[in-house]
C-alpha cells in the first residue's frame, strides 16, 4: 500500500490540520517509509488471536453518579484565547 498526495490531503482534512504543497511532499515521503515499517505486521497470522483491549487485570470501576465539582466557570474560562465572561467565543458559524 502506498499513500499518495491526495490521500494525505484527505487525512489532513480529517485531522483538521492545514498543509501546504511543500508539506504534503515531505509528509508523503515520511509517512510512506513509516507505513512500510509498520506493515511488517502483515507477516504474522493473527486470525485466531483476540485483540488486547486492556492491559489491566481489572475492569473499570463504577462510581456514584453525583456532582463532585463545579461552580468554577472563571477557572474554566481562564485559559481561553477568547471569551466574553460567560462563553467561549469562536468565529461566526451562523449567518
Amino acid at each position: 500500500m502506498s499513500l499518495d498526495k491526495e490521500k494525505i490531503k484527505h487525512v489532513a482534512k480529517l485531522a483538521r490540520i492545514s498543509v501546504d504543497d511543500a508539506k504534503v511532499e515531505s509528509l508523503t515521503k515520511d509517512l510512506n517509509s513509516i507505513f512500510k515499517f509498520i506493515e511488517q505486521l502483515n507477516e504474522l497470522n493473527t486470525d485466531k488471536v483476540e485483540p488486547l483491549t486492556s492491559i489491566l487485570n481489572q475492569s473499570l470501576r463504577s462510581r456514584k453518579d453525583e456532582i463532585s465539582d463545579g461552580k468554577i466557570r472563571e477557572k474554566v474560562l481562564k485559559n481561553s484565547p477568547k471569551e466574553n465572561e460567560e462563553f467561549f467565543v469562536v468565529p461566526k458559524v451562523v449567518e
Binding site: S33, Q40, V49, I55, L56, I72, K75
Partner: protein, 485 residues
Amino acid sequence: MADITNQSLNEIIENVKTKKVSSTDLTKAYIKNIESAKKLNAFVTTTFDQALDKAKQFDNKPNFDQLLPGIPLAVKDLFCTENTKTTAGSNILNNFIPSYESTVTKNLWNNGSFLLGKLNCDEFAMGSSNETSHYGNVINPVGDQLVPGGSSGGSSSALAADLTPATIGTDTGGSIRQPASFTGTVGLKPTYGLCSRWGIVAFASSLDQAGPMTKTIKDCAIMLESMSGFDEKDSTSINKKKEQYSKNLKDNIEGLKIGIPKEYRVDNMPKEVDELWEKGKKILKDLGAQLIDISLPHTKYALPTYYIVAPAEASSNLARYDGVRYGYRSKQGKDLIEMYEKTRSEGFGDEVKRRILIGTYVLSSGYYDAYYLKAQKVRQLIKKDFDDSFTKIDAILTPSTPSSAFKIGEKTNDPVSMYLNDIFTVPVNLAGLPALSMPAGVDKQGYPLGLQLIGKALDEQKILNIGYAFEKNCGFKNEIKKWWS
C-alpha cells in the same frame, strides 16, 4: 560543606534531617547551578521565588518525618502544575496555565518537596532526542553535541548536571529509560496503573506512565514511594496498598531467576552494548542469581505495533487542541473549520503532525481492521510472550538502548531510524510491565550505557532490589565535567 548538589537525593535528605543544610540553602545551591547551566536548555520555566518561599516555610516549621523534607524538585513540563505554565514542549500550549495540579506532583508536594521549575521535553512526549520541543534542543551534559535522549530529555539533562536532586518523567515507549541510559542515570517506568495519569498531558493513554529519574536506585525507591498510589480520578489507577519501596530495599538476590531474551539485539549493534550485557549477566550471576535463556519471539513486532497504537491514541487525545478552550489560537481563519486547521497547523510541530496523521489514517473508515485491530492482536501476542516467560523467571535483563547518545541532528531526517532507538523499551509499555534502566558502563567514546531490568506487573520492589545489588557491584561512576558553567 562540600557541594551538596552532587550528592544523591538520599544523602541530601539525611543532610536536611540532621540540619547540616537548610532547605533554603539547598534551594539556593540548585538555583545557582541552574542559572549557570542555561546552555543545556533543560528548563522551560523556573519557579525560583516560589521555591524560596516554600523553602523558608519549611525551615521555619520543619517536618522531618516526610519522605522528601524540604527538597526542591524540577519536573518534566508534561505534568500540570497549578498556576505555573505547562507547555508539554508545544507551541500550542505556550500560554497554558493550569488551574489544577497533577496527582503525581501533588503527591510529591504532600511528601514535603516543592517545585523548582519545569523541564523541557519533546513535544507532547513524542521523540527520542528532545529535538521536537518547540523550546529548542536540550544538551546532554555528557557532551556539548549530544542529545540527552527523549522524550524526558530536560529531566535527564537536569538530573545529570546537578540542577535537581531527582526528577520525574513520563514513559510511553521508553521516554524515561532511554534518556536515563544516555546520561548515566537511573529511570523507572512503573507498572501501568501504579502512578496516576490524572493531570498529565495525555499522549497515548494505554501506554503512558509517570516514573522517577534519579542518580541512584535508593533515590528511585524514595521517589516511586512518594509519587505512586491509587487515585480515583484516573479510571485505570490500581487500587492497592502503598508499598514502602525504600525501607524494603534489599541487596540479596541469591536464587533469583533472571531471564536473558535472545531477541534483544539489532544489526550493527555496537559491541560495547553486547559486552556490557555480558558484564551485567556476570555481576548478577556472581551475586547468586541464576541466568535462564528465554525467548520473546514477537519482540521485532513491538515497534511496528507501537507505531499504530500510540499514534491512534494520540490522534484522539490531541483532538482537544482546537484553539477554542485553551492554548494557542491562530489569527488566521475566516470560519470555524479554517480556524481549527490553521491553529493546529501553526501550533503543532512536524513530528506531532506526522503522528496525528498516522493515527487518523489507521483509525479511518476502511482501514481500522487492517491496522488498529491488527496491532491490538499483535499486542496480545507480545504480552503473552512476557506472561509465558514470567512463569519461570523473576526478572529479565536486557540492554536499555541499542546505542549510546547520538549527535544532535544525526537522526532528525529519518523518522524510522529515530524510532529504532526505542526497540528495547517499547515492548514493556505494550505489556504494561515495570522496567528499570540503570547505568552500567560507558562505550569507547566514554558515553554512558544502561541495562534494563523488566519485572512482572507490580513487582517494582524486586527489580529495585536487583538494581540495588547490581549498583553496589558494578562500580559505575558518572564522571561529568561541568563544561557548561
